[in-house]
């Protein structure tokens, strides 16, 4: 029932925002949306395991993703509002931005909760469309190039996912089942036709990598995060990547523990390691802050995927890593708007002396860097450690060595760029721009939240993750 109210409210708010030309009305609708989003989240937590409208289940896996999304939705809309006023956007472009931002968050929400392969697929398609509007916000040639690439790659990837779903439906038809609920897949786990499941998994995995940011389809996502306004980029670089993971993990759950699952594990392992390699190479020669953050997101998602490859313990670590990464990465993207206002550039070469120009902001950025680099006291450090532990427990020493080596090189490259921005003097003199310290508070909260989860994971979160891990063998 609440899901139906949520969907109806989102449609109304979407139409209202798209038509609204007044700032006040947009603000009211934005707050209203956050209210509805909170209502759904609270309702979902009060009714775990309940299915609504037939296609949406509040299962543990979906709840974790929903909670992280709902938490970053608040700062995302807040920073979007700041973004649209500095400098002032035209009423029509602000309306397009707000409406598609709300649609993106709602589509991700429904995608997480969907209990049917085709429904997840439909909402993933909607995220592509709404993200495209966000990427094209600036109406420049480069934004158009990024939008075109993103839409085209996502269109192909969505086709791939569809083909994968068709193959899986063939496997189910053999078992006399003509619906595509994830629970059907789990129920027929032992008897599903290996050939079709293999082919299906391969296509679904390849398709969802466009969202997840893994090899082979990660490229368009990097351009998109670079060109989208930073608050929207925050959503693309965190919650949307989680949706890709959601799509893959739910299918993987239905084959894990079978021979096909072993094979799928190898596919994911190879893809994650190639991605990590590519991210490291690009990170070492990166010049653009936003692209640097995008590649760092790819790196973390490959760590998450590696976690998924190593059984239950790995899955628990992967989930923790994903939750904390969502907070930290979106915080860094939110902070980027301040960097941009200070330097009017994205290029690392144009930056420097940030500690003098914006002391509080610089300290927050430094905290964010330590968090994302997974160096203690970062929360991500603990989850990465758990992923490594899971690898070693299964005896995959070569994966461990390779991953640790690549992550070390990546850390060096990342630190070089970040320290340059914060500590080293700028190449040419920069005029100090006054930026309110209040704007950094939301990021501080997000980074601190990630650190808190790392040091002292709340019992309810661990509980949920354990429940979600039950689907992986």
């Amino acid at each position: 029932m609440i899901t139906a109210i949520y969907l109806a409210a989102v449609v109304c708010i979407f139409i209202g925002l798209a038509l609204s030309r007044s700032r006040i009305l947009s603000d009211i609708l934005g707050v209203l949306f956050l209210g509805v989003q909170t209502m759904l989240t609270v309702h979902a937590f009060l009714n775990p395991g309940v299915t609504e409208l037939g296609y949406f289940t509040y299962d543990a896996f979906g709840l974790i993703l929903l909670l992280t999304l709902s938490i970053i939705a608040f700062p995302a809309l807040l920073h979007s509002r700041i973004y649209l006023t500095k400098p002032m956007a035209t009423p029509s472009s602000a309306a397009a931005y707000n409406a598609s931002c709300v649609l993106l968050i709602a589509a991700m929400t429904m995608g997480y909760l969907a209990n049917h392969a085709a429904v997840t697929w439909i909402f993933t398609e909607i995220t592509t469309l709404s993200a495209a509007v966000l990427i094209y916000h600036h109406r420049s040639k480069l934004a158009l190039e990024a939008t075109w690439k993103y839409v085209f790659v996502c269109a192909i990837s969505i086709c791939f996912v569809f083909v994968g779903i068709l193959f899986i439906s063939l496997a189910l038809l053999h078992d006399g089942c003509s619906t595509l609920f994830y629970s059907d897949l789990m129920a027929h786990k032992a008897t599903l036709n290996g050939f079709w499941m293999r082919l299906g998994f391969l296509f679904i995995f390849a398709g969802f990598t466009a969202k997840l940011g893994l090899f082979p389809m990660f490229t368009a996502g990097v351009d998109a995060k670079d060109k989208a306004p930073a608050p929207a980029g925050a959503l693309l670089a965190s919650a949307l990547m989680n949706l890709g993971f959601c799509g893959i993990a739910r299918i993987y759950a239905s084959i894990s523990g079978t021979p096909v699952g072993e094979w799928a594990r190898m596919v994911m392992l190879v893809s994650a390691l190639i991605t990590l390699f590519i991210a490291t190479i690009y990170m070492a020669r990166i010049k653009n802050v936003k692209r640097m953050l995008a590649y760092s997101g790819i790196e973390h998602m490959s760590v998450v995927t590696l976690g998924l490859c190593f059984g239950k313990a790995g899955f628990v670590a992967a989930m923790l890593h994903m939750v904390m990464h969502t907070f930290v990465k979106s915080g860094l993207f939110f902070h980027f708007t301040q960097l941009w206002r200070q330097y009017s550039s994205k290029m690392i070469d144009d930056m420097g002396d940030y500690l003098k120009l914006n002391p509080f902001g610089a300290l927050v950025l430094l905290f964010g860097f330590v968090s994302i680099a997974a160096v203690p006291p970062s929360g991500l450090f603990f989850s990465e450690l758990l992923v490594f532990k899971a690898m070693i427990a299964e005896g995959s020493w070569w994966v461990f060595v390779l991953t640790a080596f690549l992550l070390t090189v990546l850390l060096w490259a990342f630190a070089r760029s970040m320290f340059r921005i914060i500590f080293l003097p700028a190449a040419k003199p920069v005029e100090k721009i006054k930026i309110s310290a209040w704007e950094s508070v939301s990021q501080l909260i997000l980074f601190a939240l990630a650190a808190y989860i790392g040091f002292n994971p709340p019992a309810f979160l661990l509980n949920l993750i354990e429940q979600a891990a039950a689907m992986i063998l």
Partner: protein, 209 residues
């Protein structure tokens, strides 16, 4: 009868590999739309009448008329040259397409399946990969769109294969078709053509590290 249509469909893929003019691409898309119409009409026996009409209309109106017409208009409107400008010689393209089809046939050999007709499988897989090949081997962005349409045609064949058992999948495929194609062609017609006048991928390679 069905087999004949799918073999003709495979032949259009070979033609696609060696076609030199944009106009030929458009013609192939029209042929494929008509072929898919026939396949759907002969194959989907267990559909209710209304649903069947929607799907048949989609193939004939959307695939065989609207999309080709749209591409044709974009070509005229933007004065896009007629050459398809492949990176590789046609002979190599022909070999690769043949390789794809042979690969699909070999892959289908390992299927022992009562539900799926092997012809559908071969047709679909060949179209999907030929479409991908077309995208990576041609310079013009508009040919990428043609490649995408071919991929969608392949996906449609595959959804027809399970159509009698899972009608919803065919409808979803139709939805994907309309949704994504309209979006892609819409961006292309309204934006890319106006902003970038000479539309090949060289003008879309500014974003890089």
């Amino acid at each position: 009868m069905l087999e004949t249509f799918i073999i003709i469909f495979l032949a259009t893929l070979f033609y696609l590999a060696i076609a030199n003019r944009m106009r030929n691409y458009i013609r192939i898309l029209i042929y494929q739309g008509v072929l898919l119409f026939l396949v759907a009409a002969f194959h989907l026996k267990e559909f209710n009448v209304f649903n069947l009409i929607v799907i048949l209309l989609e193939t004939i109106v959307f695939k065989a008329i609207a999309v080709p017409y749209c591409i044709e208009r974009i070509i005229r409107h933007n004065n896009i040259t007629r050459e398809t400008e492949p990176f590789l010689p046609n002979f190599v393209s022909l070999l690769i397409t043949a390789g794809i089809v042979v690969g699909a046939v070999l892959l289908s050999g390992s299927i022992d399946d009562m539900i799926l007709d092997k012809f559908f499988f071969v047709g679909a897989i060949s179209a999907i990969f030929t479409g991908l090949y077309l995208i990576v081997s041609r310079r013009k962005i508009l040919t990428h769109v043609v490649g995408y349409c071919v991929i969608e045609n392949g996906v449609f064949i595959l959804s027809l294969a399970v159509g009698n058992e899972m009608p919803a999948m065919v409808n979803l495929g139709v939805m994907l078709d309309i949704f994504a194609s309209v979006f892609i062609l819409g961006i292309f017609a309204n934006k890319i053509g106006d902003v970038f006048h000479d539309v090949d991928i060289d003008s879309l390679s500014k974003l890089k590290d």
